[in-house]
C-alpha cells in the first residue's frame, strides 16, 4: 500500500465512528432505490409467473382482487362462495377441465387448501416423500409448510377452529400427513392440501358420528318418533377420520350446493377459453377473471407508489450528498493544521490533495460494497417478505 493510501486508511480507522456514519449514509442512498426496484421487480415476476400459469379463475361476484389472491396465493381474504354445481356445469361444457378450490381454514396460520387431485397435475406438483391423498381426512403438505410446522409423513396436522368462542361450532380435525411435496417455489410450498370433502368436513358440513340406533348412542338420543331420531349436542362426533369410523362420515344436503371459494377452469384450447369467457361475461352471480389482468392492476398500483417513493428517495439522496459534501469540506477546513504539518514535512500540495481524495474514494468504495451486500440480501430474502406484506 502506497503512503497516501496507508495514511488515508489509518485516518479512517482513527476516526472510525465518523467514517462509519459516512459509509452508512452513502450506502443507504445507493441501496434504497436499487433495493426497492429489485424487490418490486422480483415480486412482480413471481406474481406474474403464478398468474400466467393460471389462465382463468371463476368465483362468486365480489372483489376480483380478493378472489384472485385467495385462489392463487391462498391469502386470508375470504371471497364469497359459489356452489359446487358450477364444477359439473363447467365440466359438462366440454370446454374446460375445472379444478375446484375451497381455501378457508388454517392450521397454525398455514392455509388448508381443499381441492381435487387434478390440482396437483395442473400445477405439476411432485411428491418428495410419502404418497398422494387417498382417503378422507388425509393431508399432503408443501415442503415449506412441512418445515414451518415441523411435521413429516406419519405426523398429524390439526385444523384451527375459526373462533375460540364458537364452542358449538366447527371441531378441529386431526389429519395424518401422508405426503410432502417437492419444492415448487410457489405458494403451493406454503399450503396444506386436502381433499375437497375433507375441507367440507373441517367446515362441519360433513361429519361422522355414532350410529344413533346403536345402544352406545342412547344417552344422546332425546326422542324417537317412528323413523325420526332427535339427538342432543352430546352425540359423539369424530375429530379424526380413521378406518374404524370412516364409514360414518356423511354430508348433509345436496352435493351440488356445497361451497367453493373458486374454480380454476383450465381451457382445453384457446378457442375454448374465449367461448367459456363469453358464457360467463354477463353472469349475474359469478365472475370469470383472467388473473394476469388483475395482478397487472395490482402491480400498476405498486409501481405507481414505487415511483413516488423513488422521487422522495432522490430528494433524500440529494440532501445526503450535500451533507456528505459538507462533512468533507468542514473536515478539510478543520484539518488545516494537519495539512500545514504535512507541508512542513516536505509534502507537496498534490500529495496532500491525494490524501484527502483517497479518504473520499475509500468511503465510497466501502459504501458501494455495503450497498451491494444489502442488494444481495434483498434478492435472497426480500421477495417473500414483501409478498407476506402485500398478501
Amino acid at each position: 500500500m502506497s503512503g497516501v493510501w496507508y495514511l488515508a486508511w489509518r485516518y479512517l480507522l482513527w476516526h472510525r465512528w465518523k467514517a462509519a456514519i459516512l459509509v452508512a449514509a452513502v450506502s443507504l442512498v445507493l441501496y434504497l432505490p436499487l433495493g426497492l426496484q429489485l424487490l418490486v421487480e422480483q415480486t412482480a415476476r413471481d406474481m406474474n409467473a403464478r398468474a400466467d400459469a393460471t389462465p382463468l379463475v371463476l368465483g362468486a361476484r365480489g372483489s376480483p382482487l380478493e378472489l384472485v389472491l385467495n385462489a392463487l396465493y391462498f391469502s386470508d381474504e375470504q371471497p364469497p362462495t359459489l356452489s359446487y354445481a358450477v364444477v359439473a356445469e363447467l365440466r359438462d361444457s366440454g370446454l374446460v377441465d375445472p379444478v375446484p378450490l375451497y381455501v378457508r381454514y388454517y392450521s397454525q396460520q398455514v392455509p388448508i387448501v381443499g381441492t381435487s387431485l387434478d390440482y396437483f397435475g395442473f400445477r405439476q406438483l411432485q411428491l418428495a416423500s410419502g404418497r398422494q391423498l387417498a382417503t378422507l381426512g388425509e393431508a399432503v403438505l408443501g415442503y415449506r409448510a412441512a418445515a414451518d410446522l415441523g411435521v413429516g409423513v406419519g405426523d398429524f396436522v390439526v385444523s384451527s377452529p375459526q373462533s375460540v368462542f364458537d364452542i358449538a361450532g366447527v371441531y378441529p380435525l386431526k389429519m395424518p400427513v401422508v405426503g410432502i411435496l417437492a419444492a415448487s417455489y410457489s405458494p403451493d410450498d406454503e399450503a396444506i392440501f386436502v381433499d375437497l370433502k375433507t375441507a367440507w368436513i373441517i367446515e362441519g358440513i360433513g361429519h361422522g358420528h355414532q350410529e344413533l340406533t346403536r345402544p352406545e348412542a342412547a344417552s344422546a338420543v332425546l326422542k324417537t318418533e317412528d323413523d325420526r331420531i332427535v339427538a342432543n349436542a352430546s352425540l359423539l362426533q369424530y375429530n379424526e377420520i380413521t378406518a374404524a369410523n370412516i364409514d360414518s362420515f356423511h354430508f348433509h344436503g345436496n352435493d351440488a350446493e356445497l361451497p367453493l371459494t373458486a374454480v380454476l377452469p383450465v381451457p382445453r384450447s384457446d378457442k375454448a377459453r374465449v367461448l367459456i369467457q363469453g358464457r360467463y361475461q354477463q353472469h349475474e352471480s359469478l365472475q370469470l377473471l383472467e388473473p394476469r389482468a388483475i395482478i397487472d392492476q395490482l402491480l400498476a398500483t405498486v409501481f405507481a407508489v414505487q415511483r413516488y417513493v423513488l422521487v422522495a428517495m432522490g430528494l433524500v439522496a440529494l440532501a445526503t450528498t450535500a451533507v456528505v459534501l459538507l462533512v468533507f469540506l468542514l473536515s478539510w477546513r478543520a484539518r488545516r493544521p494537519e495539512q500545514d504539518t504535512l507541508h512542513l514535512l516536505g509534502g507537496s500540495q498534490a500529495a496532500v490533495l491525494s490524501l484527502m481524495l483517497a479518504e473520499v474514494i475509500m468511503v465510497m468504495v466501502l459504501s458501494v460494497l455495503l450497498a451491494t451486500l444489502l442488494v444481495v440480501l434483498t434478492h435472497w430474502f426480500g421477495g417473500p417478505l414483501l409478498k407476506a406484506v402485500v398478501l
Binding site: 387417498a134 382417503t135 324417537t224 325420526r228 458501494v368 442488494v375
Partner: protein
C-alpha cells in the same frame, strides 16, 4: 464515479445470474415416456365389459374387485386406490354405487358418471331413520338402488356415456367407438325388447326376488315383485320361511328370481310351496365362463323358460 458504476453494474449482473437460478421455476414436463394404451378403471363388471367392447385394443380396462365379492360393497385397499388414481378414465356407475368412492380421493376430471344422464330415473330405497343432532335440521343417510344396468335401456345410456368419454380420449378411434356404441346399443335394446315381452307375458303375476337388487329390472319390465334378503349359499332360517309364508298370503308368487343358484334344500322347499326358482344373475361381478352379453342372454333364456310355467 466510473469505478462506482462498474461495481454497481457487476453487482446487478450477478443478481440477474442468481435470479435465473433461484426465481420461480416451472418443473419440466416429463412427457418422454413411451405412449401407453389408455388406462380405464371401472367399478363393476358391466361397465368394464362395455368399456372394453367400445375401446377394443385402444385401451386396457381394469376392474380390480376380486371375483368373489359384490363390487357394490367392496372396499379397495390403498394400492388399489392409487391404481385408480393413475387411470386415464375412471368409469363410475353412479347412483351411489361403490360407496368407497365417496371416501377416497380420485381425480374428478377423469371420472365419468354413467348415470348422470338419468338421475331423475334413479330409484330411492331410503330406509335409514331421519335424525337431528345440530343446527342443520333433519337429515337421513339415504340410499339409492344401484343396479341400473338391469334396466337394459339405462345400461344402453351408460354405454353411450362411456362412448362419449372414450371419443374425447381416443379421437383417432372415434368413428369405431361410435359404430361400436351403435352396435352394442342395438344388441342391448333387442334384449330389452325381449324382456319387455316377458314382462307382458307375466302380466303382473306376483314374483319374488331373493335380494333387493332388481328395482330397475322390475320397474322397466313391469314385474310385480317383492324382495327378500336371502343368500343363495345360505339356508334360510325357520323365521325366514315363516316370513315367506306370511308374504305369500299377501303376494302369492309362483316364481322367485335368484342372484345365483340357491342350495338344493332351499330350492326343494320352495318347490313344495309352489314357488319355482329362476336364476337371473345381476352380473355386478364377472360371470364364470361367460361375458355380459352371453350371461344376460342366458338370464333371459332361463326367465323365458320359467315364464312359460307360470299359470
Amino acid at each position: 464515479m466510473r469505478l462506482l458504476q462498474s461495481i454497481l453494474g457487476f453487482a446487478l449482473l450477478s443478481l440477474v445470474a442468481c435470479g435465473q437460478g433461484t426465481g420461480t421455476q416451472t418443473p419440466s414436463n416429463s412427457d418422454g415416456a413411451a405412449k401407453r394404451p389408455l388406462q380405464i378403471s371401472t367399478v363393476n363388471y358391466p361397465l368394464a365389459w362395455a368399456a372394453q367392447q367400445l375401446a377394443g385394443e385402444g385401451a386396457e380396462v381394469h376392474f380390480p374387485a376380486p371375483a368373489d365379492v359384490d363390487p357394490a360393497f367392496w372396499q379397495p385397499d390403498l394400492d388399489t386406490v392409487a391404481a385408480y388414481q393413475q387411470a386415464d378414465l375412471i368409469v363410475l356407475n353412479g347412483a351411489n354405487y361403490a360407496r368407497w368412492r365417496a371416501r377416497v380421493t380420485l381425480p374428478d376430471n377423469r371420472l365419468v358418471d354413467t348415470s348422470s344422464a338419468f338421475t331423475d330415473q334413479l330409484i330411492s330405497v331410503d330406509s335409514s331413520p331421519v335424525h337431528t343432532h345440530g343446527p342443520d335440521g333433519d337429515h337421513s343417510h339415504g340410499e339409492l338402488a344401484f343396479t341400473v344396468w338391469l334396466d337394459l335401456s339405462l345400461y344402453a345410456q351408460q354405454l353411450q356415456s362411456i362412448a362419449a368419454a372414450l371419443a374425447v380420449l381416443l379421437p383417432e378411434r372415434a368413428r369405431g367407438i361410435a359404430a361400436g356404441s351403435e352396435r352394442l346399443s342395438g344388441q342391448l335394446m333387442a334384449m330389452d325388447s325381449e324382456l319387455i315381452k316377458l314382462g307382458q307375458q307375466l302380466d303382473g303375476e306376483p314374483v319374488l326376488y331373493s335380494h333387493p337388487v332388481y328395482q330397475y329390472f322390475g320397474r322397466r319390465y313391469r314385474l310385480n315383485g317383492r324382495a327378500l334378503h336371502w343368500e343363495p349359499d345360505q339356508s334360510p332360517s325357520e323365521r325366514d320361511w315363516s316370513a315367506l309364508g306370511e308374504l305369500l298370503k299377501q303376494h302369492p308368487a309362483t316364481l322367485m328370481i335368484w342372484e345365483d343358484k340357491p342350495l338344493a334344500a332351499t330350492r326343494d322347499r320352495l318347490t313344495q310351496l309352489g314357488v319355482e326358482v329362476v336364476v337371473f344373475r345381476p352380473l355386478g361381478n364377472r360371470p364364470p365362463h361367460a361375458d355380459f352379453e352371453s350371461a344376460m342372454s342366458a338370464n333371459i333364456a332361463r326367465l323365458r323358460a320359467a315364464a312359460v310355467e307360470v299359470p
